[in-house]
């Protein structure tokens, strides 16, 4: 009788634990942590009216940092934020209205073209669309 009770406890507890080990991963899968995926094709970068005119902001595009710029005209542009010289993160300069790399004083224009300093190549341009006031940044075509 004693053995029978012991077996029942093991069976009951074991079944519960087994159900837990099935449902916990299922639940974790349905409710993933808020982390960006590594291989993304587009990201939502927030409401367009929150990005001030003549300002820039770095956003995460999968594994890459992207510089989002709202120009004086209100147009939003996005560029790879990785400097083409030695991979520092570039930033928008409100005073000169250019993209600037602090590491070696490299400058790019607002089309991403390297215009002064050591950067040897232009920055990749990320297409931007604004849908219902939401900024959508997409992967550049040449990146495949």
């Amino acid at each position: 009788m004693k053995r029978n009770r012991f077996l029942n406890i093991i069976l009951g507890g074991g079944t519960l634990a087994w159900l837990g080990s099935i449902f916990y991963p299922v639940f974790s899968f349905l409710n993933p942590p808020k982390r960006p995926e590594a291989n993304v094709h587009s990201v939502k970068a927030g409401p367009a009216d929150k990005l001030a005119v003549n300002s820039g902001e770095i956003i995460k595009f999968g594994r890459r940092p992207v510089l989002l710029i709202r120009m004086d005209t209100g147009e939003v542009r996005a560029f790879s934020a990785t400097c083409t010289h030695l991979d520092c993160i570039v930033q928008y300069r409100q005073d000169s209205k250019q993209i600037w790399c602090a590491c070696h004083n490299g400058y790019y224009d607002l089309r991403g073209r390297n215009i002064s300093g050591p950067p040897p190549r232009p920055l990749d341009v990320y297409p931007v669309n604004i849908v219902n006031n939401e900024i959508i940044v997409s992967k550049p075509k040449q990146m495949g």
Partner: protein
């Protein structure tokens, strides 16, 4: 009615445009080639006496300027004596010493040149007069380079054309044609190994091996039409055209002032010129292989500064390597390394900035940047540990659930046996 009129008008207009377009096409097709209308070309092609270096892609030819455009004469006249007479404006082959003036006739005339390009440069001949080549030519030395030596005579293409002798990737070879020829350069008593050295340099490898047209070729440091070896005062400005921060940081140091007094070439003293190697942290410090040790002696102030700077860089570089290895581990375990990667990018940025800040020789400024980098590295390492721990928790979870399932199976087996045994005993009693 009004709409009908409107439609017929549009139809007529479209037909007119089509007819005009077709006529234009016919006209273009009907234009006879230059080799038929231009008598110089047609005879020289027929007799196979075109200049040796002639190329049909020559920019002048492309723009409709054939032989007479430079050599004068009357290309419409098929009588050789008349067309090539002084009366017809024929000037023939210019002497080498006259070539800059010969090309300058058009290239220095903005009114003429702007029809081809509104913002075209027209100071090449003037700059040439200030170059070493030009100065020597004026003194009667006809061995020096003139326009055609670099651009070719009859196969001239814009510098943006990869087939051009002056396209960025081709410039080193073009200069080397003369400057690498020891026999030809003998009378000038200057080195002839610049190209060999350049090929091995960080600039040369980027340009010639990686085909990176953003990297400097000879003309980016020496100028092209006004080519000159950069002087002592201008050398850091030359390097500073691209390496702006390095130039500014160095210009504010006591060392820069000392260099000036001793007539030493700024950047070149440590980095070399044609053979500029890829800079490394080993260049700074107090060991014998460092460039600092070339001038500083053990115990002097500069020597101590160099040691501190090197230690700071080494510490940060080692911490960055360690954090990168941990990030790789996180990645290989299949865990999320995205945030760590972003933090590491910032750490690397601090290292890059510190390496540039070295040019101030200010230990405090460099330390501020290396400390910033170390903090980032520690943050990355902390994040990596969290991910690695999470991985092991998952593994333990998997072990525990496997154990539970096994236990469940065993218990189930025993339970079934027990039920069977009970059933048997009940049947036996009956």
């Amino acid at each position: 009615m009004k709409n009908q009129n409107h439609a017929s008008f549009l139809c007529l207009a479209a037909m007119a445009v089509l007819v005009l377009w077709a006529a234009g096409l016919r006209a273009a097709e009907d234009d006879p080639p230059l080799s038929e209308t231009d008598q110089c070309l047609s005879c020289h092609l027929d007799d196979d006496v075109m200049p040796q270096d002639y190329g049909e892609h020559d920019i002048h030819m492309q723009k409709g300027l054939s032989c007479a455009g430079c050599h004068g004469g009357d290309p419409a006249n098929d009588d050789m004596d008349d067309s090539m007479s002084p009366a017809a404006g024929y000037v023939g082959i210019p002497d080498k010493k006259d070539i800059p003036r010969f090309c300058g006739k058009c290239h220095s005339d903005i009114d003429f040149m702007r029809q081809y390009q509104p913002a075209i440069q027209t100071d090449q001949a003037e700059q040439y007069g200030h170059s070493v080549h030009g100065a020597k030519l004026m003194r009667g030395d006809t061995s020096v380079a003139v326009c055609t030596s670099c651009h070719s005579g009859h196969n001239i293409m814009p510098a943006s054309d990869p087939r051009s002798t002056v396209y960025a990737l081709n410039v080193p070879e073009t200069c080397n044609k003369c400057h690498g020829d020891a026999q030809y350069m003998k009378k000038y008593d200057i080195p002839t190994d610049q190209y060999e050295k350049f090929k091995k340099s960080v600039h040369g490898q980027a340009l010639l091996e990686e085909q990176d047209t953003g990297a400097p070729a000879c003309n980016d440091c020496h100028g092209n039409h006004g080519a000159m070896p950069p002087g002592i005062t201008s050398i850091s400005h030359v390097c500073g055209t691209c390496h702006i921060n390095n130039m500014e940081y160095f210009a504010g140091t006591k060392m820069a002032a000392g260099f000036k007094k001793k007539k030493l070439h700024g950047c070149e003293e440590c980095h070399g010129n044609h053979e500029v190697p890829k800079p490394s942290d080993k260049m700074i410090g107090d060991d014998k292989s460092s460039v600092c040790a070339q001038c500083h002696e053990s115990g002097d102030k500069g020597f101590l500064t160099a040691r501190v700077l090197r230690t700071r860089l080494d510490t940060l570089a080692a911490a960055y390597r360690k954090a990168s290895v941990m990030k790789e581990r996180v990645n290989s375990l299949g865990m999320d390394d995205l945030d760590i990667e972003f933090i590491l990018q910032e750490a690397k940025q601090s290292l890059t900035k510190a390496r540039t800040m070295i040019h101030t020789f200010d230990t405090l400024k460099v330390s501020a940047l290396t400390t910033e980098g170390l903090v980032k590295n520690q943050q990355a390492i902390r994040e990596a540990r969290v991910q690695i721990e999470a991985y092991y928790i998952r593994r333990k979870g998997l072990g525990a659930s496997t154990f539970i399932i096994t236990l469940l199976i065993v218990a189930l087996y025993l339970k079934i046996r027990e039920i069977e045994r009970r059933q048997k005993s009940t049947t036996g009693e009956v």
